[in-house]
Symmetry: C2
Subunit: 213 residues, 2 copies
């Protein structure tokens, strides 16, 4: 069965983008630091997304999993700053962008806008993924997926770095969410932590083990 | 040589205490969740700190290291909420509390207040530790130690849990800090991450690899 899996590089203090992010400064100041575990992306490292393949064997496992997903769900802020990746993220898979703002009339390449909510967006992506997993990306989108109970797993690349400021991955969650550790991959550049969102059997939403007083 | 090592249980989203913490509610709401990897502390589990020894062998390694430290540096907010641990944390080692507020006249047990700054506090603790490491505890104290360049290592017990609100371990760092991953211990209850703070050879402060624009 297809799972919606969040892939994010995060500093130990919880940041996934630097300060001052915007169209002219994608990912904010010093965004590269969080992604040093990946290849440099230049053409000498390979064509297209192959250029980002990490040199380390263990990190490459995680990278290959990410690149074998059958669809992408990504927040509009993220993909706008990335110039829509030129319309292609990897392998020609469809890219679904949940948005409340008017969508572009002619989205580039594989990009599709979804305006009827995050549940619909993830469902469409899963349907399009052909049984493969769905890559979820972006902090706002991650939190929306968690709130709606449609995020299945989290693959966090935890970077040995305290960034101090910027955008946090988890900023406003309305309730506690219990996770299960699925796998830990230990490399010098990043600790790759894979979690499954625990659910109550009778609920589509994430399990909240304790009520808040 | 003695190292100052921060020991903290932290949720994946960076919280080390729940909301509404105070004297009547030490550690805030649902504080226990972050410490489930430890023993329950009740007397049937053992005497004194032995009651907190985790059942799992791998987690016990980290616990034993913590309990073999020769001194404690702990923030005043933390130790006040903990009722000064009755004056004893473990093994009768001295407990140093950096503070700007007037200290208690007759601090209980092994507690000593230090009013001349965090550098002095950590130096006194190292001197008293008899070559053993120093256990550092508390979010404010951790950040003060990082800022002053007197924190050597961090032992984070990363809990598979999104807490959503409360007090964060890393809230206000004035600069980026590079870490080196020393060890990763993978257990179902917690991922025990040990980091060394990287320093420039010519500086006592933490290395800041990049200047902020």
């Amino acid at each position: 069965m297809s799972s919606a899996v969040l892939y994010m590089s995060m500093s130990l203090d919880g940041y996934i983008a630097g300060p001052n992010d915007g169209l002219g400064n994608p990912g904010g100041d010093n965004f590269g630091r969080l992604h040093e575990w990946l290849g440099s992306g230049d053409s000498s490292s390979g064509q297209g997304h192959d250029g980002f393949r990490p040199a380390g064997e263990q990190s490459a496992i995680v990278f290959e999993e990410m690149m074998s997903t059958g669809a992408v769900v990504v927040g509009r802020r993220t993909i706008e700053q990335a110039g829509y990746w030129g319309g292609e993220h990897h392998g020609g898979v469809p890219i679904f962008v949940p948005t409340h703002r008017p969508p572009l009339k002619d989205p580039p390449g594989q990009v599709r806008f979804v305006t009827d909510g995050i549940e619909s967006c993830v469902a469409q992506a899963k349907a399009a993924a052909g049984g493969r997993n769905v890559l979820v990306h972006g902090a706002v989108t991650a939190q929306e997926c968690l709130r709606a109970g449609v995020l299945d797993e989290l693959q966090i690349h935890l970077i040995p770095f305290l960034q101090g400021r910027g955008r946090r991955l988890f900023d406003t969650l309305p309730e506690e969410v219990e996770l299960e550790i699925v796998r830990v991959i230990d490399t010098p550049e990043a600790t790759h932590l894979r979690y499954r969102v625990r659910r109550r059997p009778d609920s589509k939403g994430p399990e909240t083990v304790r009520n808040r007083a």
